[in-house]
Amino acid sequence: MKQMKTKFTGTQKLWYVAIFMIVACAFNPMYGQSDQKTSTEVAQKERIIKGLISDEQGPLPGVNITLKGTNIGVATNVKGEFTFPKALKNGDILLVSYLGYKTTEVKIKPETNFVKLVISEEIIEFMGSLNTNKRYKSKRKN
């Protein structure tokens, strides 16, 4: 069976695509056109993040908040609060680190403006063996 009718030439194809695109744009609801909307979009992209870090007992001062892969960071104040010094965007990862506690990663999501986090202590058993260069002396029977 020959289907001659369905064959298009290259120029025809181009036309159909062009018309389709114009139609798609024309009937699509208007997004991101007003000025106000644009500014919230930017705010969504880059914004100042604040937060509160605590452990089981309460707010924890001196906790380091660092942007992963950089040297940019801040420590929590006596109330366990912080304001990150750099505007952050979605997908950025903050490292929350305090010696003796598990390092936690916090991913900045579209809805993240305030990070509230309870960090937990490391579960670790401490032991130590003394290093020495003292010459061995055997305990003799006699």
């Binding site: 380091n64 490292l95 063996s129 290093n131 260069n133």
Partner: protein, 337 residues
């Protein structure tokens, strides 16, 4: 097809000996210089410290080196903490509840000491190495286990007493002992003397197994050659400097040897670097005397040092192997008629 065969051969054969010489083309000068540059940094901000130590280095082994060198040169071993912990651990060893309570309390003290004074004990070193390495995206684990030194009483070595690290570099696991790499505490003055020992950085698993026994045996990295706990307890004593010169200790397998008069003992170790025959000595102690001997029969062949020594007098001897002035190992020999 042949190429594939060789690639497989390369992967599997060269996987076996994970040690520092794998990176012989890399010098650690830059990493060591960076570690030195940040001397006096505090431990109050680990992410920042990890960034400072590693961001200018291009390979993982150099990054890990900078971390290792920094920790070993800036964190002191706290003798007071060590002895207090050992006493409590011995006392509560059969009482898991009290041991846990003690550990929870001690943990707080340890971390506070680290933050404020840069002082710790073994697990603190291993913990810092792991944390800093992880912050630099390097896979690193703490290994708990038993360690044997010349002053440890083997009869009471029934609870784990030491912690060290395993680190994954270029897809392979390596061993290191940051506590022992950092220096030596003086039990009398409780002072710590920094003395970096390169031998504990990516050590050969064979020599490592002579005085380290991991609780989780996979961390021996020796596959099927992992010695049993009793073999480990019976092994000769090796000292810090053994790691500077040697990659393995082959013979004698035990600390103690019983022989008859005029029989000989063979000492055999694998060399990491070349030593001169005239630098190899034995120091032989009896109860009252101490005699330095340069053995006649020493052979150095294929990176292997062999000493063949004949005992011609009966007695009980502590035999110490020295290279130059460096104490390597100790054996006891009883010579009977």
């Amino acid at each position: 097809m042949n190429t594939i065969k060789y690639i497989f051969l390369f992967i599997f054969v060269f996987q076996l000996n994970a040690q520092k010489s794998d990176f012989s083309t890399i010098t650690f000068e830059k990493a060591d210089r960076i570690a030195l540059e940040y001397k006096n940094e505090k431990l109050t901000n680990l992410p920042e410290l990890a960034y400072k130590l590693t961001s200018d280095l291009t390979t993982d082994v150099e990054r890990f080196r900078a971390i290792f060198k920094w920790v070993c040169s800036n964190v002191a071993n706290d003798y007071y903490l060590y002895s207090k912990n050992m006493r409590k651990r011995q006392r509560y060893k059969n009482d898991s509840v009290r041991l846990k309570d003690w550990n929870d309390e001690f943990k707080k003290v340890i971390f506070q000491k680290l933050r404020r004074n840069n002082r710790t004990i073994c697990t603190g070193y291993a913990y810092l190495i792991k944390e800093l390495a992880n912050l630099a995206n390097i896979d690193c684990e703490i290994v708990h286990g038993f360690a044997k030194t010349s002053t440890i009483n083997i009869e009471t070595l029934d609870v784990p007493n030491h912690s060290w690290n395993a680190v994954k570099l270029s897809g392979k696991w390596y061993l290191c002992d940051p506590t022992w790499a950092s220096g030596i505490p003086d039990p009398e003055s409780a002072q710590f003397e920094f003395q970096f020992n390169d031998g504990f950085f990516l050590s050969d698993p064979n020599i490592f197994a002579v005085n380290h026994f991991p609780v989780d045996e996979k961390w021996s990295l020796l596959n099927d050659d992992q010695p049993s706990f009793n073999t480990f307890l019976d092994a000769p004593i090796i000292y810090n400097k053994a790691y500077t010169y040697f990659s393995n200790h082959n013979a004698p397998k035990k600390l103690h040897t019983d022989i008859r008069k005029n029989e000989h003992v063979i000492f055999k170790l694998q060399l990491l670097k070349s030593v001169k025959k005239e630098d190899v000595n034995l120091l032989i102690d009896t109860t009252f005397t101490s005699k330095k001997i340069h053995p006649e029969s020493i052979s150095i062949k294929d990176q292997s040092l062999t000493i063949d020594y004949t005992f011609d007098t009966t007695g009980y001897y502590d035999v110490h192997l020295y290279v130059k002035d460096d104490l390597i190992s100790t054996y006891t020999v009883e010579v009977n008629k």
